[in-house]
Amino acid sequence: MADAALIETDVVQRVLGAALARGGEFAEVFAEDRRGTAAVLDDGRVEELSTGRDRGAGVRVVVGETTGYAHTADLSEAGLLAAADAAAAVARAGGASRVVPLEPVSAPRPNEVALAPETVSKDRKIELLRRADDAARAAGGAVSQVSASYGDARRRVLVANSEGVLAADDQVRTRFAVTCVAVGDAGMQTGFESTALTLGFELFDTVDVGELAAVAARRALSKLTARPAPSGEVPVVLASGSGGILFHEACGHGLEADHIVKDSSVYVGQVGNLVASPLVTLVDDGTVGPQWGSFAVDDEGRPAQRNVLVEDGVLTDYMWDYVRARKEGRVSSGNGRRQSYRHLPMVRMTNTFLINGTDDPDEILAQTPSGVYVAKLGGGQVNTTTGDFVFGTNEAYLIEDGRITEPLRDANLIGNGPEVLRRIDAVADDFAMTPGTCGKDGQSVPVGCGQPTLRITGVTVGGTTGA
């Protein structure tokens, strides 16, 4: 794609110079141009097709322990200089503007994009919604409502800083989701399924939205006859790709360096220690195309990389952004991300996953006399200070005598990160990933999660019936 740079290099240099003029030790310009399309079908009707564009830049100046930040939607030199001046206000010492030599960063794209969303007609995007609606309604008369949504986004970024980094990225993301409501004698139940990858419209060459809708419908229908989830601590088997959100919440957030340097994580001082079952090797990797959390460079211009966080149960490292790494005299691990040019970057996960073990998934189930089988997880949340985390279920069943039996209604599961990781006693070889959105400190970014089928010997299930 032969698009012009978001900002000319000589302008970037003058803006960096102005940002350093009051004595700043580090300055950065982050520019972003985001275009997106969203289409929603609801209640049998294409309700809305919307398109939008947001572009702007943020200037960051670091002096000592202090960061100044200002952003603007005005990408002209005058607009950028005004932002640089506002960000530089945190630095009070005198200083002189200097010319920063810039060196382009080369980083491979995690994957190629074959069909850029803006080259695909709006009709074809709408057609997907209708196909999903038809397929979900065909799943059974009890399906009373279907909502399908399509979204694509192209995000071009440019990052330059006073250490000479000049990096650019062109990120394309496409997603599709279906939510069904089914009505039965005991009320309404919902089912959800989605796909999301860093691909263009070619995503739909391999993903059949009809099948995806059928899965959402089946989830809603199966819960119509579901019994309430049990209450209490039981063994839990998580199906492959049901949502590696378990690891994202149970330890991912606690391994983010901002929580570490502020001593607000249970994993502080644990590098080199056994923090999980030896069956656990956990990786955060922003280079795996076309997973939802991938990119060529992070929002600080650092190339994405593969970081092993936990190896055979031993904590090997945390995740770092520029500011926290600088404080420790090391380099960023490519985990500096932000929601948009309106936000300061912070330490964020990319694609976080548990790698394959050697067990057979069917054997794991067969050797679990009783418990809960989670086929699909919902969202989750963690308190990094205590390590206590919750995650919800979207599709779960009772396990009786090593077999999946009755469907269960939705419930949250609660556990303590380090404790639950130690209780993993079986890991299968059927790895799969799922997309998600991670929220932290008011900012949302796309992430991937993944895990093979695994068993936890005891997790508290927050249902209403005796376990």
Binding site: S50, T66, L344, F389, V390, G392, A411, L413, T460, G463
Partner: protein
Amino acid sequence: MYVSRGVETDVRAYDGEVESLSSAASAGVGIRVVDGGRQGFAYAGSLDQAVMTETLAEARDNARFATPDEHVRLAVPDGHVPCDLDVWDEELAATPVEEKVRMALDLERRVRAADPRIRQVSSADYGDMASEAAIASSTGIAASTRRTLCSMSAAAIAGEGADSHTGVGFSAVRGPGDLDPDRVVVDAVQRATRLLGATKARSGRWTVVFDPRVTSTLLAIVASALSGEAVTKGRSLFAGRLGEKIAVPSVTIVDDPTDTRALSAASHDAEGLACRRNVLVEEGVLRGFVFDTTSASRAGTTSTASAVRGGYASTPVAGCRALVLSPGPLDAPAILADVGDALYVQSVTGVHSGVNPISGDFSVGAEGVMVRDGLFAEPVREVTIASTMQRMLLSVLHVGADLEWLPGVAAGQTLAIEGMTLSGS
């Protein structure tokens, strides 16, 4: 056509220094075109004339792809007179950034010094914003709103090692003069320290007493089920239950954006109609829902001026703005004394994953303090509480007198509900 612009300042203090200082101005436009019952929408983060012209053309083009729907239409002036709201504090613009920085640094220092058990203040923030929005339509709507918001918050960590707990205190008001830093300090410290030594409680059925902040979170879920959009599309646990008893008689729920005390108070809704007071649940009986123009038409009624929108980048939808549960006679200590033994819940987690406003299934993580003989006893963590929304509304024992105006769509007060399932050890 909807335009908005705003300025904001955020200061974060850490360890006696300014960790970050952000200042920003932003603006944008969202344009909705309705043509023969078909709606198209486009937005841009700019008020540049050329960009707006391009955005209008996009919105017009997008309308071609929607399915015609007789109910999709723009709001028409309905004669309601807008209330005279003063939610703009001039003092905000007059406060120098140095003063805002001083407030954040001061707050951090005070939280650190407040109690020897506080070993860390992971954030101490000052934030403010001044925003304006205007809406005009070809159907004769012309309205504008403006507001200021100002807040302070602190997250304190008490304890050591595995027995560490975070407590958050905040104050959210219209202008710097109304901030209550004392309250922020006390809340942050008390909420962190009272959890020290917390353990998992035994599973069983308990009366649960919710802190006002948690009640506000629960009401926000009730709010989503009272949206005319959810109801007319059969996606609410309240659909088809108008006139039925859905709660005990002590429960009266009103959405009143014209009450200046609500942080989200507004003279006009997101379609430009004058906001008004809407009674939704009266003495336990479901009396109404909140509607925007389209969902009202679908339900065969008129808009309750309850259109809300996330900003210029999204379209209006029916929603509550300032939900209030009418206060009861007892304050928090009297409620605890009356229930005797209960779990007092200070905060909940997993609300998005564990509460379903369609099925009503309810299961959240909780931490708090056991109440024994009406007094706070041992702290509790890593438990879940579960029930259904339907059953909870019919099991309310007490609605507190201690109403607090909190950020978000709902106010909160102490709330006691019996017969919830606690899952722990």
